[in-house]
Assembly symmetry: C2
Homo-oligomer: 416 residues x 2
């Protein structure tokens, strides 16, 4: 796997893509900081509204803050829509493609369908879900989880960012009503199928020589907060034997996570850590850390987390540090709807597109929606496989191939 820094690569020249690129871009990394309900997010939401209005699409913001743009069918009911889209928020210093490629491609696919004279008998929609990355409030796919009732509104309202601002406060600050958030009972009637196009977050398609792929399943995955509680002391005077330093079992847990992931055939990452109080010349009183764990099946996921916590607790006992864990989110394996997947693969094959079927370790809004309605995913080739990084990249020709594939699939689904 080689790095492909986006800085030196030609960017997709689609006007919608070009107009989105500057928003929320952070220098000097060149990555994006599009956190929900911030100024950068507001700029992205304005961009969405403008893109919809330029296309005479009706814009709608649902009770959870997710944005929808509707191409209503000239005849036929207002229900049973076919919706494409993804999200606009980013991880800290994320890439340009993860999320936005799916939203831009959905608008571009509608343009292409209209050029081709496609006449849908069902509404066609574009959606941008809020807080997919969980970068601000800690719960991934928050917008789709709320909409489908996977997370309770009471719990969601109390989620707080690093500064202690709650979701309720942030939504109110953005002009939304946090009291209205929650599941939409009409969702299944209104939406017949959801197709999320997304940049691949690995390099399997590149190995297969394919520009576009179809999602098979999403690995079960979750996030655990691990608290290491020791005792603050002076770094220059406290004997080693007297220390209760929480950084030591944290370090043991980081190394154990890598070892356990290799043993189980899974993925484990510890990348978020807060040392309390965090001065250089004092021993910490506590360390808070987050474990991201993913595995091909749930048995292996639980074995993985069990092994890591066992090592963390053993190291904690050795240093008189209390170690506790809290599961912040847990998503079971997601198998996408088989009938929908077959229709997608058949439509692409009919248009001469070879689209291999792939599993993924990444969570997506399509995975959450798959719990209540037929959902499918299209992946666009990522030559380096790098994601959640400014170096994330897809070739312009592959972005265009993604739009063509998405338009083909939407036309197939919306005309019957």
């Amino acid at each position: 796997m080689s790095t492909a820094p986006s800085a030196g690569m030609p960017q997709w020249d689609h006007p919608l893509w070009q107009s989105l690129l500057p928003l929320g871009r952070s220098e000097p990394s060149g990555g994006y900081r599009r956190y929900s309900f911030t100024d950068a997010d507001s700029a992205c939401r304005d961009w969405f509204g403008k893109a919809a209005r330029q296309r005479n699409l009706r814009v709608d913001c649902d009770r959870d803050g997710n944005l929808w743009a509707w191409w209503d069918a000239p005849s036929g009911p207002a229900t049973g829509a076919i919706v494409a889209g993804s999200h606009l928020d980013s991880v800290p210093d994320g890439g340009a493609f993860d999320g936005p490629l799916g939203v831009v491609s959905a608008f571009a696919a509608i343009d292409l369908m209209r050029e081709r004279g496609v006449r849908p008998v069902r509404p066609v929609g574009v959606v941008a879900f809020v807080e997919e990355e969980g970068a601000r409030f800690g719960v991934a796919c928050l917008g789709s989880r709320l909409l489908t009732g996977v997370i309770a509104p009471e719990r969601a309202r109390e989620l707080a960012d690093a500064d202690g601002v709650t979701l309720a406060e942030a939504m109110a600050g953005a002009g939304l009503d946090p009291e209205r958030i929650g599941a939409d009972p009409g969702l299944r009637e209104r939406v017949a199928a959801f197709v999320e196009l997304h940049i691949e977050q690995g390099s399997a398609l590149d190995g297969l020589g394919a520009a576009v792929g179809v999602g098979e399943s999403i690995w079960p995955h979750g996030r655990w907060r691990i608290d290491f509680s020791g005792r603050a002391d002076h770094a220059g005077t406290t004997r080693l034997a007297d220390r209760r330093d929480p950084m030591l079992p944290f370090a043991a847990a980081v190394l154990a996570a890598r070892e356990a992931a290799a043993e189980v055939g899974a993925l484990a990452t510890m990348s978020k850590v807060v040392a309390v109080p965090g001065g250089a010349n004092g021993i910490c009183s506590a360390v808070q850390a987050w474990l991201d764990a993913r595995a091909p099946d749930e048995e292996r996921l639980h074995r993985l987390v069990g092994l890591i916590m066992e090592s963390a607790r053993a190291a904690g006992d050795q240093h008189q540090v209390t170690v506790t864990s809290t599961c912040e989110s847990l998503t079971p394996v997601t198998e996408f709807d088989l009938d929908l997947r077959d229709r997608v693969v058949t439509a692409l094959a009919g248009a001469g597109v070879n689209a291999p079927v792939l599993p993924t370790g990444a969570g997506h809004d399509a995975g959450v929606l798959a719990g209540v309605l037929p959902a499918a995913m299209l992946f666009v080739r990522n030559p380096s496989g790098v994601s959640h990084s400014p170096a994330e990249y897809a070739e312009p020709a592959d972005c265009a191939a993604g739009v063509t594939a998405l338009a083909t699939v939407l036309a197939e689904l919306a005309c019957r």
Copy 2:
């Protein structure tokens, strides 16, 4: 060693101590966040001025922002002063005693000398040095280092806090002139001796059954910043073999630091860490960490740091992570002036005080001043040995014993 939470313990009832206790106190930890040139610091500086004026002491702020209060001798020259004091700033969530005990005790010792009718033939001063902990700008004993010329003003002005605010900007914001900072060539003439009273940051005095001790030497010590530079990637899709995760060699370094310290007979602590960008579902691009290392002699200190860096680099090589280190501060062993120490011990013995002589691993302004003028330290018993923590504690009777000892020492030094 047992914890002694200050919350449940009686606090010294000296009015000056009581008036200082609420300033910069942070809830819910009950610890202090008195960072240089902040509102909390400004409140402490106002407190110093008020304490001095209540005692008819002349207040003076030197070019580096250190505060002085002078009891001028009625006859005799204005030079060759005997000065006591310490600092008012704190580590994050520090205790009430580290620093402030020395300043309050210096004022209280002057009160006691006056009650006893002591008539100094030299000026007697109280000093509060700025940024002793280095909690805001990263360099410990910054005020005394500037005053004695140990750090260049150009370098100091550019030191920046976590928000990128430079020392120059922070000083200007506090009404001080950063262009004037630097060594005071008249210091040695003006000050004949400095005595810093400080809470012990260990429990040796408790083991010896003594309320007060005298400083022998300060271990050589330093602070190193270690940068681990890897590559940001998606936590859910990047194969273990493709990762360049900087958290792994950081964890290896934390464990190596403890092991090397035990091997060398020294102290090593890694308590400050910043993961970049630090999202839970992305692999970090970089980890910045700080190593605090202290040893009985310089040979062992350098061996300690060498062992730790060797392990960190080996782990970096294993994970394709670049590891570099920068020495941010390094203080050689400090032996306090032998003549002054003998006079202090003799004066205390003459007053019936058994004050054992102790080495310490902690750096102090007295250690910096010892490079240019005679300096001594008095320690006050800390039953639990806990420091740099809200649980730091000294018994009221021991605080009072410290004042009596300091007054005895100052009277001995200032009357000849």
